[in-house]
Symmetry: C2
Subunit: 257 residues, 2 copies
């Protein structure tokens, strides 16, 4: 009898080639599938809500998988998989899901966080988790620009060149600049959180790269509105580096497990 | 003309073979000496206040070095060295010191922090920085036992077997259990901070291993007093793993730089 599970997974993406299985490289998906195989002797696909690139982290990625046989609790499947995973990946929760639950198709929203360090010295403990910005950054201007992303827009200008999606319209529900802390006398820790019904490839990193250009004073906050209308990737800011990005949450309609 | 400098250095010890230069391995001392050489063309010894083992981190290790020529500011020496160091090591400060300043000999005290995670799941972001303890731990008993280390004692029972020191008497000025946060519903982050005029090899890790035995209920807090009198390493708790340990601070008498 087939049994489908919903997994919530956290990982430090630093040492991995990203979510997706890659030949001759360590991926989160590949290591999860190996752990499932070692636990259940079943070779199945673990479907993530979306790929994360090399260096991108997750606080709560969601994945689905279907086993032809598992006679124990969903919780004990999680414990067994965790015993086979490296310390940088953890299955935080496993629950039974409807048999047709699908982590990509059923996702109704996601939230990402991008972490910045503004000013200050190299921080040896934070460097895999923050993009460090040098020079003057105006956080008020960045916050003003961030708010302009909220709403339903065509994000064609903010997807990776070469990516092909039928529709590039997305509904951004939140785009917020959060001052997390002033960790030392000089450095400020800042996060940009973006929530939407869905994301195009590299969309958050392109939004962040654009906001940083505004923070540096190269463009006014209103530039964001112009870019959304223009829909041309070449006009927007650079793609922010992968290592500052965290997948915070993936939302689904509730189901009775 | 000879010029001596005092360096304050932070590092994530995870990927290194420890402070001390080792053949065919990456050490913090070795990488600092290489960076000094690349900056000044002078091959000199960088003297740390003490060795830290592989996996041990530092918030503010102190080192001294003497150059036969440097015509710029101490600050610019720090910037130049940082440009040659990996992201996991940073020179936080460089100041001119008296020519006979010596980071080991002149140290008058040190403070270490040992980080624990009590209960909860694997935390992919904290695992290189905390010893995760399973099962029930009584923090009140641990705090009670920790306080018994304070004062002047013979710590022969808490140094690594095989280590040879002329005197094993040390003055512990503080030994405190600090609840840092309850990061999730299940896990508690705890730190044990120990300050003394000097430390024997593995002393903090042996103190922590002993306190954990008390926390687990295997011994009463009074056991600490017995161990201090007995002076036998075989009787105390196991050595806690290296990766939870941070060198927080090294103290010196003030000098006019």
């Amino acid at each position: 009898v087939l049994r489908t599970f919903k997994l919530t997974v956290a990982y430090d993406g630093t040492e991995f080639a990203g979510w997706q299985v890659q030949p001759h490289q360590q991926s989160i998906q590949g290591l999860l599938e190996l752990a499932v195989y070692q636990t259940t002797n079943q070779s199945v696909r673990v479907i993530g809500s979306g790929r994360t690139d090399a260096g991108v982290h997750a606080i709560a990625q969601v994945a689905s998988l279907t086993l032809s046989q598992w006679n124990h609790s969903a919780e004990s499947l999680g414990r067994a998989i965790n015993a086979k995973l490296p310390e940088t990946i953890v299955v935080k929760e496993v629950v039974d899901a409807p048999q047709d639950f699908h982590a990509i198709r059923d996702a109704i929203g996601k939230r990402y966080r991008y972490q910045l360090q503004v000013g200050g010295q190299r921080d040896v403990f934070e460097f895999p988790f923050r993009w460090r910005l040098h020079g003057h950054i105006d956080l008020d201007r960045m916050a003003e620009a961030a708010a302009l992303f909220v709403g339903q827009h065509d994000f064609a200008g903010f997807q990776a060149t070469g990516a092909e999606r039928t529709s590039t319209v997305r509904n951004v529900r939140a785009c917020e600049l959060i001052v997390q802390s002033t960790s030392t006398s000089e450095a400020t820790h800042v996060a940009i959180e973006v929530e939407a019904d869905g994301f195009l490839y590299n969309m958050v990193r392109n939004i962040v790269g654009t906001l940083v250009e505004v923070g540096r004073g190269k463009h006014s906050p209103q530039w964001v509105s112009e870019l959304l209308v223009a829909g041309n990737r070449d006009l927007a800011g650079p793609t922010a580096p992968a290592h500052g990005l965290f997948l915070l949450r993936v939302d689904y309609l509730p189901f009775v497990s």
